[in-house]
Symmetry: C2
Subunit: 199 residues, 2 copies
């Protein structure tokens, strides 16, 4: 197997990249001058050294604590709970939220053998107890996907957090902006009705 | 900008990968153990050294001439002309063709300033003149996309090759297998009618 075939096989292991796309990408890299390949190689080989988990929120970062957790300009009394570190990036890009984060590292999924003990819940409780900088937490926003696993995890956290004097909220679920009632599934429509707001 | 952001920007330069996909891929690489990143880095950094153009057909190869051109078991009297080296791979994977190839390196596109002089046509004529191993060429198959540029290039080559005693053929154009007449565009349907075959 030659170098090109080996690269195509490696590329096709990446999420969302099939064999055809991997081929297209490999030929593109080969057709382009070698700078792109060299730059990609350099970034990839240094990636795991450069990036670690933030000790506070669990997000990926170069510095520990991360830029969000160490930013005194942000509202440390609101914690947004996300499933994965990449969800944090997407929320950050929306510029909608100015509090801090907590990465669970997964969702409760009994069928896949993932229980509460596998998630970063102990650390969240520590944060609520004020073991570190986040002393007066007022609100916990559950930014979990509206799926069975997301709902289960939200319900679990909701019960767990009942004893703390903290508001627990969850992102609204309903019709996406620009969506069409004709093409919305029954469950989403049902949630839109239940979560309807007064105008 | 941190290492993760830099990787995402580089990844989003690859064909078919937008900003969201680049993010997904970068987080996947980070979540996976570092072996995938290291292997990808190694392949990418060595790629341009390992892979060159075949001096005969113009395809990408580790050895010159490439494994197809140097294979005496193949029919060297039939040359399949393709636009890009990756088209060669796709035809090879179909196992439909047992001759040899010639990579044009593009298609005639006057609006983009690409003329016949920019393509590897001189080398093709050399091959027809028997300057190298392909002495008795009987057939030239034009495996060019059925687009305006592909049609223009096919017409140009057809005229150019008239003086050589060689059959010039072109891949059939028409309805794709599994296609539905209802959803076929007018031009394809028109080609299917013109190219209809007796059953």
């Amino acid at each position: 197997m030659n170098a090109l075939d080996r690269l195509i096989i490696l590329l096709s292991k990446l999420p969302g990249i099939g064999k055809k796309s991997a081929g297209r990408i490999a030929y593109h890299i080969l057709d382009t001058d070698s700078a792109l390949a060299k730059n990609l190689a350099a970034e990839l080989s240094g990636l795991h050294q450069a990036i670690r988990r933030c000790g506070v929120c669990g997000g990926f970062t170069e510095t520990d604590p991360c830029s969000v957790c160490s930013d005194s300009g942000r509202d440390h009394s609101i914690i947004c709970i996300v499933e994965r570190a990449q969800d944090m990036r997407i929320i950050e890009e929306s510029r909608e939220f100015h509090g801090v984060f907590h990465v669970l590292g997964g969702l409760i999924a009994p069928l896949e053998g993932v229980g509460p003990g596998d998630l970063s819940i102990g650390k969240l409780i520590d944060r609520l107890h004020g073991d570190n900088s986040d002393r007066h937490i007022k609100e916990i926003i559950l930014a979990l996907n509206p799926t069975v696993e997301g709902d289960t995890t939200a319900l679990y956290l909701q019960k767990l957090l009942k004893d703390f004097h903290v508001d627990v909220t969850r992102l609204a679920s309903g019709m996406p902006v620009g969506g069409d009632i004709e093409y919305i599934d029954r469950l989403t429509l049902s949630r839109s009705f239940r979560g309807r707001v007064k105008v």
